[in-house]
Symmetry: C2
Subunit: 514 residues, 2 copies
Amino acid sequence: MTPLSTVAASASASASTSTPVDLMHHLSTEARLRKPNPMKAIWKLTQRKPNMVSLANGDPHYSLYPIRNIHYEMASVAEEDPVASWRAGPSAPSQTLTSSVHEPRALPLQAGMQYTAGAGLPLAQRVVTDLTNFYHAPADHLCTLTLGNSDGITKCFRLLGEPGDTFLADEFTFSSVTNVPLAQGIKWVGVKMDDGGMIPSELERVLAAWDPARGRRPHVIYLVPCGQNPTGSTLSLARRQAIYALAQRFDLIIIEDDPYYFLQYDSPDCATTAPSTPFARSFLSLDTDGRVVRVDSFSKIMAPGMRLGWVTSSAAFHDALVAYTDSSTMHPHGFGQMLIAEMLAPGAGATGGWQLAGFDRWVRSLRAEYHRRRAHFLSLFAREVAPSALASASCPEAGMFVWVRVHVERHPRLRADVRVRGGEGAAKGPRTNVRELMEELFERCLDGGLVIMPASIFALAADPKWDDVEDPVEDRVNYLRATFAGTEEAMEEGLTILGQVLREFFAEEPKAVV
Amino acid sequence: MTPLSTVAASASASASTSTPVDLMHHLSTEARLRKPNPMKAIWKLTQRKPNMVSLANGDPHYSLYPIRNIHYEMASVAEEDPVASWRAGPSAPSQTLTSSVHEPRALPLQAGMQYTAGAGLPLAQRVVTDLTNFYHAPADHLCTLTLGNSDGITKCFRLLGEPGDTFLADEFTFSSVTNVPLAQGIKWVGVKMDDGGMIPSELERVLAAWDPARGRRPHVIYLVPCGQNPTGSTLSLARRQAIYALAQRFDLIIIEDDPYYFLQYDSPDCATTAPSTPFARSFLSLDTDGRVVRVDSFSKIMAPGMRLGWVTSSAAFHDALVAYTDSSTMHPHGFGQMLIAEMLAPGAGATGGWQLAGFDRWVRSLRAEYHRRRAHFLSLFAREVAPSALASASCPEAGMFVWVRVHVERHPRLRADVRVRGGEGAAKGPRTNVRELMEELFERCLDGGLVIMPASIFALAADPKWDDVEDPVEDRVNYLRATFAGTEEAMEEGLTILGQVLREFFAEEPKAVV
């Protein structure tokens, strides 16, 4: 298929799908002002009759690409536990995928390395669509390739956010994400969480009590439903349904960022046997209105350097996303598109491809691997940290992170009535010196040779003018984010240091539990 | 090198370079509001002492990447004319580059496929820096990797442009580029051109006569100095120097978009022997103030699907660009970074790499190939189109495009005094029906089976309130953009159709030349 026809094919495919509910009012002014690429309109004209001759293109002919074959040597998914086999090293069995100019393949290299539509090459789009249908079976949605998770999310912010808007998220959220729209003039309001993630009644409280003096009521919520970063929490189906119902009632768009979807383990009993539970139902799978925009990525299940992912959304949002992509990054690189096409295309098994069944085996094997790592982390934690009763670890149902609660209430220098901020009228700001103590602990960990993420960098800064002055997030930063994605040695050494630093830090004059 | 140390190394490298002239006032509000990624600050702390243990990261361990080797089968640059040899087909000699987890290589796969800094992996940055120094020898500049030319340019627009700003460009400019910032609320003013590209005195006229009632005087100019798209024009050194002097006088930032830099041919005598002239001096090479932001790409010299390029700029602009990249797309994919590292790293010859000398041989061979194509196009034009004297072709000194002037003054239905726009007070808008006749010609080409780009889609829409009412760009759209980047067959068939369609279109009742 030529690049010209791919454009037209993609455009007509999207035009044929309708949005169940009209949600176009959520698009930003910028997104509504955006003009389609005029070249694409010209290219469509090349379809007027067969065998049109083109003097219109500005792209090199493929015979001038200095690459004719790319061979990707991949893990074999013929093994029963492919991840465990693969970790054996250079002798582990492999499968080789090839992109080629001259040999017949699912996606010829000359098509993969050409300019194409913002949504991606049709076959690359198709394989992620098949994958999405297999795991989520969404109604009336389309997949758009992205240049990775960060690209996908930040494009969503740009398509939905207006300067002055307020977005919603968990009160502890990955700050590399939440910092982004600040530059656009968008603020955040954090919603309170517990071990099970965002609390739906807290979300309702924020929305129902919204003071119009703060500006437009939030119309976008950003969520990581599985193995949330940084807390490791996973939303139950009941919470997902409750949040979706609130999204309908208050007309929210849900950005579902789900990079840890495939790393879901058994329920919180933290059994050490391989997980066998089915994957949780995503917001996408619950979406009847087209108000969920789901962001997927290959970073955690393959490699971050893939810089390839996809967004699944209503047709209307897909169109806006493609127009924005055509006017910014353009489509993702051919290397990754060719790789996923050869890896996942139906029938690609004959030329080394995994196909969807092999992919499913890989991700299930991968979650078994992380499940083992989680168990290893928790057993080390039980040995090195827990006995002091100075910190406790949650057992995450998904993802890579353990949210370690530091029992700061036992620290001799904890002060419980500190008001350091505000000053006009009623006292505002944190009541305690938890943040200062945690900063001190973080410094002591560094001095001890350990880097571990402090909760404070994930806390959505409370606005003292509007936020709950009785229970500000600054008083709840007594957590550390630890990972079990690293090596066993790093876990062993890191948790040994953590246990020792905690004991020294609390040793000054232990206090009774409050 | 670990991803953590790459971040710190990149940050300290940029801090050590100073901007010759303080141009920070050109940055947009958004760029100035942008917060650095807080994770990066934490990562820097990992440098506090050697052998820090990290429980802080959120990235999979490389032993879990399902890829262990990637082999890129590339053209051999041992040949005297490597492009001509390569076009021979599957039997042409090749060199194989390999990215590998287990074998020693310039850039190990586990580093290439990891998260890294927005500027790119240090070695990938270094090879494009060496390349830039080799061809341009800029003073005090840094290279930042991009996800291709479009990503680089659109990021520049976002970093420099404020809603309400007016940017400058050639009056005919690639509309996929000029449409982009319209959504941000940025307007364009086109500067008049002739066969030699933008006319410096016209640029001066626009700036010197700027009416403050139009808003802020333009502070950004977008230029394609070699083989400009769509006109194929190339700026002489004298014009470049004059434009640079105006940029200094009027405090402009120059965005130098130069994808056709390596496709520079002999001067306009259009000799058919291989070009031997040195490459023209870029704006970057003239830049003493740090006001040139140069955008380079691998799309035209390797393949568009590479989606990899780089921006060369002052250290201050580099820092803003890296911060924006970290907050949007993130760094480019590992596939391309590994490919250029293995291809260009000094000493990579032992493992199949081209190195810089081989790259230079490739691009010189490539320009000889396009030079042959240009000669072929022009000889076909001379045979099929020129004899009717209804159109003439410029001989481009660079790039892929021929700007075909249609002698619309000979058309029987040309009307020379049509005022279709405006209406209050003095007559405004086009004086002629050139646009309508050209639209008709474009339709007739399509009916004849030929797609060719009409000048009108590249014309920066004149604002009748402000633009030159005596000579609006709409009266000068009697051009077609044709490419010689396609196959010889496409040129042969396309120009035959064009000649025929022109003869029929003008045949109604030929007019004497005005």
